[in-house]
């Protein structure tokens, strides 16, 4: 049976983006917000009407697209992607509200945000590899323009680098898709048909070598995704974008695109290559630990909020990778839960750092000599300080906030790999509490500096868009049960094919 909710979540933002080209400015903002909100409401209804304790794909919508290549428009949700839909649903209306007063080309910017929202929804829901890749490729374009047009001094260079890395990554994924497509008979892109080890034992001939399909495709896909999400040491473009992009755009990247990339990795690994995953899990965990530590160490050295955010993102990605590679139900559930939470946490961080940068002129909290530049904002603007405090606490995994659930589950799950990983991740968290508290202390506490003297507290609009982020961090921290119950059955099912 065909539900049309998923298509509605796609059509609303696309329609909104299209209207941006016609409608004039004051009204166009309301249309953008309405389109984004309408899609989010559809997404929330979608999640609310999912059956818990059901591991299958639900709310399916499917019809043939390119018949001669067996490409279908096949959309569905299950435990692996449900939380991403929640995340995108929360994130994009917030971003559109945060760029409400954009002076230059506000219609273009919001149109691109809407396009990005639609493409990420599509990439998350698609159950056909080709369709999924189609949306995933689409998501690179709005980001390129968002960075290239509205960024800082070096914006074009940063956008160029991001685009080159992205198109290289997409080409790698594309190669993997083709190899997979031609290795099964009848040729198919459908994730449903390819699921459950259909690729085991398949080989193809390349320059006289017999190569295993799943191994090669796994390597290509992971490499391709790591060029779109920041993986140490391929993160050069990412930090550059963090420096140049407007804060809302960087939030869209690190809280929207990066979790989706992680989701695609989970989907590919667990559905397409269960047997390769078994042997590669150590590598995934290794890369995860490397990222966790490198992200942490680099974050300690940062003096600006922008790069700090980039490296926090890097280390969070490492943590999620650890969970994915743990092959343990608790760890994997944690990794998937953390995709949502890291998105929300980074979004909160990016947004309040954007507000600080806007009011004080830049986003530096230390000068060259590592001395305080700002300070004492808590007395001038208590609401910002509380919001920032909650976001930072969630990033650190304080009990009662979303981060706690995710971190705890991943760390418990990672015990099954090696007890040492628990120690390492604990160490990384300690490191995180050092740099995050230093940041917090330097900005919000202490003497009131000259710059923070006239610091304004959040306006009504800013409160309105920070509220859903903070509220959901609290809610998902205090009451994770319904979401976890959505994830668990699917995770258990896919894990049973791995072992």
């Amino acid at each position: 049976m065909n539900h049309h909710l998923i298509s509605l979540t796609l059509i609303f933002p696309l329609l909104g983006a299209l209207l941006q080209t016609v409608v004039q400015t004051p009204r166009s903002r309301w249309i953008a917000l309405a389109a984004s909100l309408a899609a989010s409401i559809c997404a929330m209804i979608l999640i609310a009407s999912m059956q818990a304790q059901n591991a299958d794909l639900q709310m399916t919508e499917s019809f043939p697209w390119v018949g001669s290549y067996a490409i279908t428009y096949d959309m569905a949700v299950d435990g692996l992607n449900a939380l991403l839909i929640v995340l995108i649903g929360i994130l994009f209306p917030v971003l559109i509200a945060s760029e409400w007063d954009q002076k230059v080309g506000v219609r273009g910017m919001q149109g691109l945000f809407l396009l990005l929202q639609a493409s990420l929804f599509g990439a998350v829901c698609a159950q056909d590899l080709f369709l999924q890749f189609f949306f995933w490729g689409l998501s690179a374009l709005p980001l390129y323009f968002l960075v290239g047009i509205w960024g800082g001094e070096q914006r074009e260079k940063a956008a160029f680098k991001a685009m080159v890395a992205g198109s290289l990554g997409d080409a790698l994924i594309f190669s993997a898709l083709i190899v997979i497509y031609y290795s099964v008979d009848p040729h198919s892109f459908s994730l449903r048909e390819l699921a459950g080890g259909k690729l085991i034992g398949k080989e193809f001939n390349f320059l006289g070598l017999e190569l295993p399909v799943s191994g090669v495709a796994f390597v290509l896909m992971s490499a391709g995704l790591s060029l779109r999400a920041p993986i140490w040491p391929l993160h050069g473009w990412f930090t550059e974008v963090s420096q140049e992009a407007p804060s809302s755009v960087f939030v869209a990247l690190c809280a929207g695109v990066v979790p989706v990339a992680l989701y695609l990795f989970v989907r590919y690994c667990y559905v397409l290559f269960p047997e390769t995953l078994n042997s590669a899990s150590k590598w995934i965990v290794g890369v995860g630990i490397l990222n966790l530590l490198m992200g942490g160490i680099c974050a300690v050295a940062q003096k600006g909020l922008r790069r700090l955010l980039a490296f926090i993102c890097l280390s969070e990605v490492g943590l999620v990778l650890m969970g994915i590679g743990s092959l343990n139900p608790v760890g994997v559930v944690g990794a998937i839960y953390q995709q949502l939470i890291l998105g929300l946490g980074l979004a909160g961080f990016g947004l309040f750092s954007g507000i600080i940068a806007e009011r004080t002129g830049n986003a530096w909290f230390m000068n060259e000599g590592r001395e305080r530049v700002l300070g004492g904002i808590v007395t001038r603007a208590p609401v910002v300080s509380v919001v920032a405090g909650l976001v930072v606490a969630s990033l650190l995994g304080f009990p009662g906030l979303g981060g706690f659930v995710g971190h705890a589950l991943i760390i418990i799950g990672s015990y099954s790999i090696h007890p040492l990983t628990v120690l390492i991740s604990g160490g990384a968290l300690l490191l995180a509490s050092y740099y995050l508290f230093t940041m917090y202390r330097f900005i919000f506490l202490g003497e009131v500096s000259q710059k923070s003297e006239s610091f304004q507290d959040l306006t009504l609009r800013e409160r309105a868009y920070m509220f859903p982020v903070v509220l959901s961090l609290l809610f998902f921290g205090l009451y994770p049960k319904p979401l976890i119950e959505l994830i668990r059955p699917t995770v258990l099912t896919v894990l049973s094919t791995v072992k």
Binding site: G67, F133, A140, Y144, G148, E156
Partner: protein, 490 residues
């Protein structure tokens, strides 16, 4: 039934009548008749288009003693050519590169070229094929030289002429050898003769090499690709748009028909062909295809002129489309045709926006594009979309075409070529990103915003909408292309 045979070539007749009308009115009227001429020629092309669609019902029939054949394959190409000519004529009023007094001449040349292309697509007789190719090329030289005052344009035309002469001579020579061995001018008769008595391998090699060289001139493949960027840069931009698709598409039409009919035989499974004779020319083709792709996309990276950059991208596209032919099956050729359809819209759009920008800033240097996005948002966004579609960036329909081509070579086990293809795709999209990097630049600086013109927007919408539809209904288009091939030969 000679009357019925004239019915079969009705599209050509309609174009010829339109052409005659345009020439006559150019001679008789002075001054302000351009609008009338444009409308009449668009009407003529439109009726030819509908008649070509209508002609699908005739199936495949040989006409005039088999020298001319009407089949789905030729009709598909005719639809492409007629669309292209109509698009070119519709845009002629909006460019300043072709000055007012000479627009009628331009329309006449475009009509003549499209007539020649339609003949090429249907030719089953080598003499007809040669003559119509020559007709096409002579008109193309004029089109390339249309910017008479520009040195680049003259240089392009002279180079085009020199290369064309060599290619024509090689083609004629190879046809003469074929005739000597088969005593026939009709390619289907040649095929039957070669089935009974194949060419000796050495002769076969010579014939194939000559035909291949002359065809590589027509489609802009290695080693004769050298002039393609020159023509794209030198010719007036609207003419470059027309030549970049039209001349190559005609080349592909004749190449596919000639190679498939003369040098292959139907394979064991339907829709497959096998190499006829001792030499596996598909190997040569795959090397050339890889080289063309890599050369095109690598050189595109370093260009300073936008038109030249697009010229090299076109070369890379040619390499891509050769992949569809060398697999020798219907799926591959259908993919090739699909790519051609996409390119009609993408390349026309690219050159249209470039012509508009050239009119505004009087330069086609990439550096001078800086800040254009701010000045003309709609046009520049369309330009980037067209470029990305051309190189096959994922969300755009060009990607489905690339996928189909790469899929075709993988289906036949040529993985290295597929790897080269993917690499070339990446390099091309980097080249496009570099162009759009300059386009996007200095967006925040205040600049005089160019007055939006309704005609321009409508024209671009006319290009973007079918392009998007070709992506959304890719299944239908691919099926249509496959079915057109279904009743092509024998």
């Amino acid at each position: 039934m000679i009357v019925k045979e004239f019915l079969y070539i009705m599209p050509e007749i309609l174009i010829a009548v339109t052409l005659a009308f345009v020439i006559a009115s150019e001679i008789t009227y002075e001054g302000e008749q351009l609008r009338l001429i444009r409308v009449i020629s668009l009407l003529g092309l439109g009726s030819a288009f509908f008649y070509a669609v209508y002609s699908y019902q005739y199936g495949s029939v040989p006409i005039f003693g088999g020298g001319f054949c009407l089949d789905g394959f030729s009709l598909f190409f005719k639809l492409i050519f007629i669309t292209l000519a109509a698009l070119s004529i519709a845009s002629v009023g909006q460019t300043r590169e072709i000055n007012l007094g000479r627009r009628t001449e331009y329309i006449a040349l475009v009509l003549a070229a499209s007539l020649a292309m339609c003949l090429v697509a249907s030719a089953a007789d080598v003499i007809l094929a040669y003559l119509s190719l020559l007709f096409l090329n002579v008109v193309s030289y004029f089109l390339a030289a249309f910017g008479r005052r520009s040195i680049l344009s003259t240089e392009a035309a002279v180079k085009y002429l020199a290369f064309g002469a060599v290619a024509g001579a090689l083609f004629l020579y190879s046809l003469a050898i074929l005739f000597a061995y088969t005593h026939s001018l009709n390619i289907y008769d040649m095929h039957r003769a070669l089935l009974v008595q194949p060419l000796p391998p050495r002769v076969m090699l010579v014939v194939f090499t000559f035909i291949f060289l002359s065809m590589s001139f027509q489609i802009g493949a290695f080693p004769m690709y050298l002039i393609t960027p020159d023509i794209m840069e030198g010719a007036p931009t609207p003419a470059a748009a027309f030549l970049s698709v039209g001349s190559r598409a005609a080349g592909f039409a004749i190449t596919i028909r000639l190679l498939i009919v003369v040098f292959t035989q139907p394979g064991l499974t339907a829709g497959h062909w096998e190499v006829l004779g001792g030499i596996d020319w598909t190997q040569i083709f795959s090397v050339v295809s890889g080289l063309t792709m890599m050369i095109g996309s690598l050189l595109a990276l370093k260009q300073e002129s936008t038109k030249r950059l697009v010229g090299y991208l076109v070369v890379a596209e040619t390499g891509f489309m050769m992949m569809g032919l060398l697999v020798l099956d219907q799926v591959g050729i259908a993919a090739l045709l699909y790519n051609l359809v996409i390119q009609v819209f993408a390349l026309t759009g690219i050159f249209y926006v470039l012509a508009f920008i050239f009119d505004e800033i009087k330069s086609d240097r990439i550096q001078d594009l800086r800040g254009m996005l701010k000045r003309a948002v709609f046009e520049c966004v369309c330009l980037v979309l067209f470029l990305l579609c051309l190189v096959g960036s994922p969300p755009l329909p060009g990607f489905i075409g690339k996928f189909a081509l790469i899929g075709a070579v993988i289906g036949s086990g040529r993985y290295p070529l597929a790897v080269v293809g993917v690499m070339s795709m990446v390099l091309s999209s980097v080249a496009v990103t570099r162009l759009s990097y300059h386009l996007v630049g200095e967006f925040k600086k205040p600049a005089t915003i160019l007055t939006p013109e309704l005609g321009r927007k409508v024209y671009l919408a006319v290009l973007v909408i079918p392009m998007a539809l070709a992506g959304i209904f890719a299944g239908l288009v691919l099926k249509g292309a496959g079915e057109s091939l279904g009743f092509i030969f024998w």
